[in-house]
Assembly symmetry: C2
Homo-oligomer: 247 residues x 2
């Protein structure tokens, strides 16, 4: 099981339109430092799973039939916008899993095209794609949002975005796993108070201490977090994701 | 006054994901034949006006401050999706004009960021941007939709998409203009019956005969219309738009 970060930016992406901070200017000069909408590809023996659909050139990145399934964390535009085009494709349907959200996003579920929206997932109710065990876990965000724990024989990978902190039940559930590797929303550099809908680095450090994962990767970064990283180091075992990084 | 077509495709764009028709295969081999979401840029002495915001890399195409205004025909995703990212930019606000539509698209008007949504436009009530006279005209579509007549001293340019046919009041209004150049929705090749929400070529030919414009350009084409064009010619005075074409 391999995870490839397709996008690691927050809703504004990096660079931010019109911003001349050091991080945005650097990303403008070096496309490798850009951050696209937060999304990842999980390559498993069962097939390729797309985690969130906010990347807008999905039709160019993937061949028809290449994606075995799409898993959505939630229906904010930056996590589903690439699906508005993909849905009008021709051929095999793509199963799409996600949380219960009667609002969804614009007319996405009303006109699904080749997207085959499955019954909403239930928190902590695991399901299998091939041998891969997937458990949806509730997160704390401004829209109904699920993280996912992916368990193969080799790895326990938790994908946790968008969120600010973790619900107690999610913490308790994840604490039972001793081989955890975590990918988590870290939208903001350390703040005096935790932000409203996303983790700052302080919130992430707290989660890191509580769950003691084998490794933890930061994703969903905004330009201020990138700017902070120009001047600061992270504690051991915590890494910054980059668009294109494979783990 | 110059109009640049930024995108000339329908909601599915060309090529369509997974389609192997002749038009889609040709477009895949030759990027100059691709069709992005329907949008145009009007360059005027007053400044640059963006017509619809469905192009997804607006933040890369335009510099901060470069767009004087954005005019929306309607709030379907393929006409506004690029604004979901642009709105989170920094700096000068961009005035956005469009039809009355209480639904809008997802949370676009709720969280406008640097987009400065103006009071909804009234059909046939002209307004001015500098010397440029702009008259919104009602169209016939599955969402409230406005076309626009742009009048400078030199030109009378009507931008009419998305629509199937034209309301009688719009026809009567446009017939009073003798120097008309028309850009119009032609999503489909000739059909036995007119489609539901978009023109086929037969509907366009009918409008052409009624309004007798100096010239007429087809936009919002789907892959089947492109395929039809591989084998057929258009009557005199009717032209096919292309992404990047300037008129
Ligand atoms: Mn997000
Ligand atoms: Mn979100
Ligand atoms: Mn359209
Ligand atoms: Mn439309
Ligand atoms: Zn910045
Ligand atoms: Zn095709």
């Amino acid at each position: 099981m391999k995870l490839t970060f397709l996008g690691t930016g927050d809703v504004r992406q990096v660079p931010v339109f019109g911003c001349n901070c050091r991080a945005c200017n650097t990303a403008r000069q070096n496309p490798a430092l850009r951050r696209r909408p937060c999304s990842a590809l999980l390559t498993t023996p069962y097939g390729k799973l797309l985690l969130d659909g906010g990347i807008i050139d999905l039709a160019e990145r993937f061949q028809p039939g290449e994606l075995s399934a799409i898993l959505l964390t939630h229906y904010h535009v930056d996590h589903v916008q690439g699906l508005f085009h993909l849905r009008w494709g021709i051929g095999e349907k793509i199963p799409v899993y996600g949380p219960e959200d009667t609002q969804g996003c614009a007319d996405l579920t009303k006109h699904p095209g080749i997207l085959d929206f499955q019954a909403p997932l239930k928190p902590f109710k695991p399901f299998y794609l091939g041998e891969l065990k997937i458990t949806p876990v509730p997160l704390i965000h401004s829209k109904p949002t699920l993280g996912y724990l992916f368990e193969s024989e080799q790895r326990q990978l938790a994908y946790l975005t968008d969120t600010v902190g973790l619900p107690e039940a999610t913490t308790t559930f994840l604490q039972r796993h001793t081989e955890l590797e975590i990918i988590i929303d870290c939208s903001e550099p350390p703040q005096p108070n935790p932000p409203r809908n996303h983790n700052d680095l302080n919130s992430v450090l707290h989660i890191h201490q509580t769950l003691q994962p084998k490794a933890l990767w930061l994703t969903h970064l905004n330009h201020k977090m990138d700017e902070w990283l120009l001047d600061n180091d992270l504690p051991e075992g915590i890494y910054v994701a980059r668009d294109g990084l494979e783990i």
